[in-house]
């Protein structure tokens, strides 16, 4: 089988990892916490997308993405406001925060299992099984949409953070609490808004990933690989997360043939640990 085709699918999966990894990084920067529930928010987003498709079959797929993202973002906002902020305000330790987000992840995945059932769900839309031709290669029809969404979201985030008051405020709140308070930014709001934004991006990734595979309550485990991507590219850096995601996506697809598939999961983590030992702040990390 040819290399370019594999590269394409690696790229597509890599985009999904990237989007989830961007969510990790945003939350880490804004709230200083590693959100172990990020993968589960992606899963919830994918299920929300499923429900939207079922209840409004006429809605075009590209509109499902923003709707699901908005709904999941609201869920993220509520989680941040109700569960995370009190802990952050109290100055809780990293250990505590990690455990808290793990707990939220358990609630989300098992809650989803009760709502949507234990069996995997497949988006009942033609897109799930359609292919298109790129050059001489057949590829799933959702790939271009993934690439496009990825570009739109990254450009959008860049504009948000550099051009808009909200984005500047969020950045200020993340980097320098004093400046932020001078700007009149409420840190609580800024944290929750960043978390909501990250949840929305995760949901978009989930909805776009669903047609490639299926949606199930244990889909959040994919988030752990996305976390490795974020770490690989340097946690907290959005370009780093994008690159980390693509590296893991392509590496997994190409590496699958080269190395033993029995130890695939181990290799991802050994790679991450190895890179961190050589370069403790990740590929895109600055020293110190």
């Amino acid at each position: 089988m040819n290399l370019s085709l594999q590269l394409l699918s690696g790229l597509a999966v890599g985009c999904i990892y990237s989007l989830v990894a961007v969510g990790f990084s945003m939350v880490y920067r804004a709230m200083g916490l590693v959100n172990f529930a990020q993968g589960d928010l992606m899963m919830v987003g994918a299920f929300v997308g499923y429900s939207i498709i079922i209840s409004a079959p006429a809605l075009p797929f590209w509109l499902v993405v923003p709707f699901a993202a908005a709904l999941t973002a609201s869920l993220g906002y509520v989680i941040a406001q109700s569960a995370l902020w009190p802990a952050i305000q109290r100055g809780a330790s990293q250990t505590y925060l990690v455990l808290l987000t793990l707990g939220i992840g358990i609630v989300l995945s098992n809650g989803a299992r009760l709502i949507w059932g234990a069996n995997p769900r497949v988006y009942p839309i033609p897109l799930t099984h359609e292919t298109i031709r790129v050059g001489q290669y057949p590829v799933p029809a959702v790939y271009p949409l993934i690439g496009l969404t990825m570009v739109v979201l990254i450009v959008g985030l860049h504009l948000l953070f550099t051009r808009t008051w909200l984005g500047l405020a969020l950045r200020a709140a993340a980097d320098d609490a004093q400046t932020a308070s001078i700007m009149g930014v409420n840190r609580r709001f800024a944290s929750a808004a960043s978390f909501a934004l990250a949840s929305g991006i995760g949901a978009a990734a989930g909805v776009l990933y669903a047609p490639i595979t299926f949606v199930s309550a244990d889909m959040g485990m994919l988030g752990i690989k996305a976390f490795a991507a974020a770490v690989l590219g340097s946690l907290g850096s959005i370009p780093g997360s994008v690159i980390g995601g693509l590296v893991i996506g392509i590496g997994e697809t190409l590496g699958g043939q080269l190395v033993s598939s029995e130890y695939q999961d181990s290799l991802a983590f050994l790679l991450m640990i190895g890179i961190l030992l050589v370069k403790p702040t990740g590929l895109m990390g600055k020293r110190g």
Binding site: G91, K286, R287, G288
Partner: protein, 272 residues
């Protein structure tokens, strides 16, 4: 030549963070049993200098000598063992402990019980522990907080937290104490108490380096003052010399042209 009573020497110590030079060729000598001030505007590199001396940050180039021995690459805990101890700009305590426990952590190196002893020894552990506790009490008494020994440190006022941190540092029985902005957040009465306490300790042989913003406090207490700006030393001398140094005045209050007015401002700050 180093004079015999110099306890701490920094030779062209430099620390870079990426492209930024936080401390640039910092050299200074601190005399034994004196109070040495390290001042400068915000971001001058004073706290980084403390991190370098205490070992929490590694030196890029240069050398740090303590009692004539190079400690440049020594682990922070080893520096404490040899007699260098510090406090932090905002007090770093152990928030779930009581006041007595926090100060007792300062006795860590003076307690000979190890991991196994802690689990298996009966008599020695009890004796060592009693020594630790009574020593911790002595240092609490020095800062006047003995009455609050059972209080959780989380419940203390900001000023008391400072005092607990000082007691904890003193409990390590250092010969050199680095105090980072020890008066910030204290009221005038507390500041005066701390001043007396420090003078008293110096009289008993302790050497102190102060990073400080309160000019009155610094000028009144220090024998010698080093002034930093943008990572480099811009002046070094007695309080009087510093107060009249045009570079210092410029650094604190803008351009050298305004020298006269600035000097007055510096003086008036002293009078506050």
């Amino acid at each position: 030549m180093r004079s015999p009573e110099v306890i701490l020497t920094l030779r062209e110590v430099t620390r870079r963070f990426g492209g930024l030079v936080a401390v640039n060729k910092l050299s200074m000598d601190v005399k034994e049993a004196s109070i040495h001030g390290l001042i400068g505007p915000n971001g001058a590199g004073k706290s980084t200098a403390f991190d370098l001396i205490s070992g929490l940050t590694t030196v890029s180039t240069g050398e740090i000598c303590f009692r004539g021995e190079a400690i440049t690459h020594m682990a922070p805990e080893a520096r404490v063992a040899s007699g260098v101890c510090r406090t932090f700009q905002t007090p770093k305590l152990f928030d779930e402990m009581t006041v007595l426990d926090v100060v007792a952590t300062g006795r860590h190196l003076h307690n000979s019980v190890g991991l196994w002893g802690s689990m298996f020894s009966i008599g020695r552990k009890r004796r060592e522990e009693a020594k630790t506790v009574s020593a911790a009490r002595e240092f609490l008494e020095i800062v006047g907080l003995l009455a609050k020994e059972d209080a959780p440190v989380a419940d203390l006022s900001y000023g008391d937290r400072r005092l607990v941190e000082i007691a904890r540092a003193l409990a390590t029985e250092p010969s050199l104490l680095l105090l980072d902005e020890v008066t910030s957040g204290l009221n005038p009465v507390e500041t005066a108490t701390v001043g007396d306490l420090l003078r008293n300790q110096v009289r008993q042989g302790l050497t102190i380096v102060l990073v400080e913003h309160d000019m009155k406090f610094v000028m009144g207490l220090c024998e010698r003052i080093t002034v930093m700006n943008y990572g480099s030393v811009i002046a070094d001398g007695s309080p009087d010399q510093i107060a009249t140094d045009p570079n210092v005045i410029a650094a604190y209050l803008g351009s050298p042209k305004d020298g006269q007015r600035s000097r007055r401002a510096l003086r008036s700050e002293q009078l506050v």
